[in-house]
Amino acid sequence: MNDHLLSLIVAAPALAALVVMFLPDGARQAIRWVSLLGASVSLLGSIYALATYDSARAGLQRVEDYPIVPSMGVHLRLAQDGWGGPLLLLTGVIIFAGVLASWTVSKRDKEYFVLLLVLVSGVLGVFVSQDLLIFFLFYEVAVLPMYLLIGIWGASHAVPAKGPFQAAWKAFAVGDKQYAAMKLTLMLLVGSAAIMAAIFVLYLQAGATSFDLAHLAATSYDRDTQIIVFPLIWLGFGTLAGVFPFHTWSPDGHASAPTAVSMLHAGVLMKLGAFGVMRVGMVLLPEGTHFWVPVVGAVAAVNILYGALCAMSQTDLKYIVAYSSVSHMGVVMLGAATLTPAGWDGAVFQMVAHGIMTGLFFALVGIVYERAHTRAIAKMGGFATVMPGVAVFFTLACLSSLGLPGTAGFVSEFVVFLAAWRSGHLIWTIAGVLGAFITAIYVLRATRAIFWGPGPSDDFHELSDARRTEWGALIILGTSLVALGVWPRLLLDPIDVGTLTHLARLVPGVVR
Amino acid sequence: MSATLGFGVVAACALLSAVFVVRAVDLIRAVLWLGITLVATAALYAMLGASFLAGVQLLLYVGGVMTLMVFGVMITRRHEGIAPTATDTVRPVRGAVVAAALFGLVAAAIVNTEGLDEAPARALAPLTLADLGRSILVEHLLAFEALSLLLLAAIIGAVVIARRRDPGPLDEPTEASR
């Protein structure tokens, strides 16, 4: 069955971007509708792809293979495995909601949508690439537009110079949007350099004939190589996944980024990092993984607890959400580190669940920020009176983030922690559950501070509830969150198919 | 023996005049000293059995390039700066040290290379002009053509670069002329 569906899904946003590029500057509506069209093609395509994935047959499906540099074995090889469908769907949902949430962007809107769509094409490409070099190229396509998106459309704020390293504050305006964009890009590029090195080591050791992931996975690398290369991949991709202590681009980056960019970045891009660690690092390097996994798991536990604790004393709404992302990405890495089917299922499910949840969060924060012109929680209060709908969705996002049963967040956290506990990592689990409890503290505190209490003060006279397209974004994200929480097998079953295929190489016992 | 003596004379001429080339204050003189070096080199070519090359050297270099150089000097200034700067005392020493180091190293390498002066295993047939011509126009025709193209490009490039455009930049000192 080759219907070129995957090419379509990946290319649709890029094509839409191309069309948008040729639209006249003033065509506001046309720009938005074309972008939305591109996003919807990806969304619907990914739903169809997920629905028609043959779980019984498992493995790679809808394989498309176009040679690019045959002499080096570089092929544009797209295929969908068990993980591909759910992650495509996540990306589709987020970009669709993201375009809707960006409807009111007024500054250089054409360029904005072009970059947004190009970025999404990159993300979609990563999830279905079966060729490591192409995987990496898509990865870069997804990462780089972020620089412009934050640097041009972002928001700045000042961070006072303190501490032993305040000399650095002289050189950069810390908290400035260009600073955030630059830090994010540079940190991710350093990570990319590590990945690149690792890719070439793998390629050469595998005979320098092909970048095909299946071929690379079938090669057995010697133990020392694996032990050296695995950390390169873990930290390289891990930087994007917010692995402690390489997470610091995330709070500043997310806080400075415009709404839809934060949504995409925290919602989808951070998942690329975790996906890369699992799909490339762990699957290709079993011995290296087994050697390093205690460290990976311990750092993940640190991430969960550290992110949550840091979030607790933030005063800026976006920072809270950003640190909560750092914390929740720890759950993904923790699940990955268990090396059990349940842990991996939970990890991938958490990618989707957290993606949607944090997308919803940032959409809401964007709405609040646009109306209130401040992100300082201390200044807000009583917003539920004038924006009840936003308050409802915010509460929903909070509940999912603290892992309430019936929302997607519960499923992934429960499965991951259960897997971690069951595989004997009691300390990690305790740290993780404590992190989830602290999440409950800070999200509810924020909700109370922003939405509850007597009506808003006179400073906020422009407050209003969500508007048409914003409703669209909120409803799509909120519904997905609840639907996945009530019936997680929608995604968990296909994810499990992928998990078993990939995990078989690491843990020989789990062959189906 | 006579060949060695001849080589010695030629080499001495070349080196001595080369030293004058780099030391002469007056540029016209430097150009003329270079001419002598080039002539000595041409003589060396002839001694090494490359008579055609010697001819080309004389024609092209001594005839063409030297003339160009003289014109170049005439268009611009004849002397280097009037007031010597601080670097002027450091620079000759530095240059001399570096040049001597280079010479020392390469010369040592040459002297230490064994079997450099042994006669080749089989006698070499002298290279005739016909051989040369065939080589150029048959074996290396492509390179030859490319070279001619390069020369053409260089000529056009030189003309374009040196062509006087509007009188402006010459007459009024621009911001760039610091």
Partner: protein, 98 residues
């Protein structure tokens, strides 16, 4: 007259050229030094051709042509330099500094 003699001579000429390159400030003088160095290289070609065979002469011929081209362009540049700076001392031209 042996190969090593020729090579030593070439080395000496080259080193003198380097000395000139490093010490002279007038653009044309620098050009002259470069000529010396090119000449030294040519001597090597011819000497190897004489004592070891091969197409060294051919190379020397081509190199000669290249040198001529270089001189033409170089002089043009010197003239341009003179026009823009009213001077031909290369250490005054520090536009390459960021």
């Amino acid at each position: 007259m042996t190969l090593s003699h020729c090579l030593l001579l070439a080395t000496a000429l080259f080193s003198i050229g380097v000395y000139g390159l490093l010490t002279r400030r007038h653009a044309i003088a620098v050009l002259l030094s470069v000529e010396l160095m090119a000449n030294a290289a040519n001597i090597c070609f011819v000497a190897f051709s004489r004592f070891r065979g091969g197409s060294g002469q051919l190379f020397a011929l081509f190199a000669l042509a290249l040198t001529v081209a270089e001189v033409a362009v170089g002089l043009a540049l010197v003239i341009l330099l003179y026009r823009s700076h009213r001077d031909t001392r290369i250490d005054l031209a520090s536009e390459m500094k960021l």
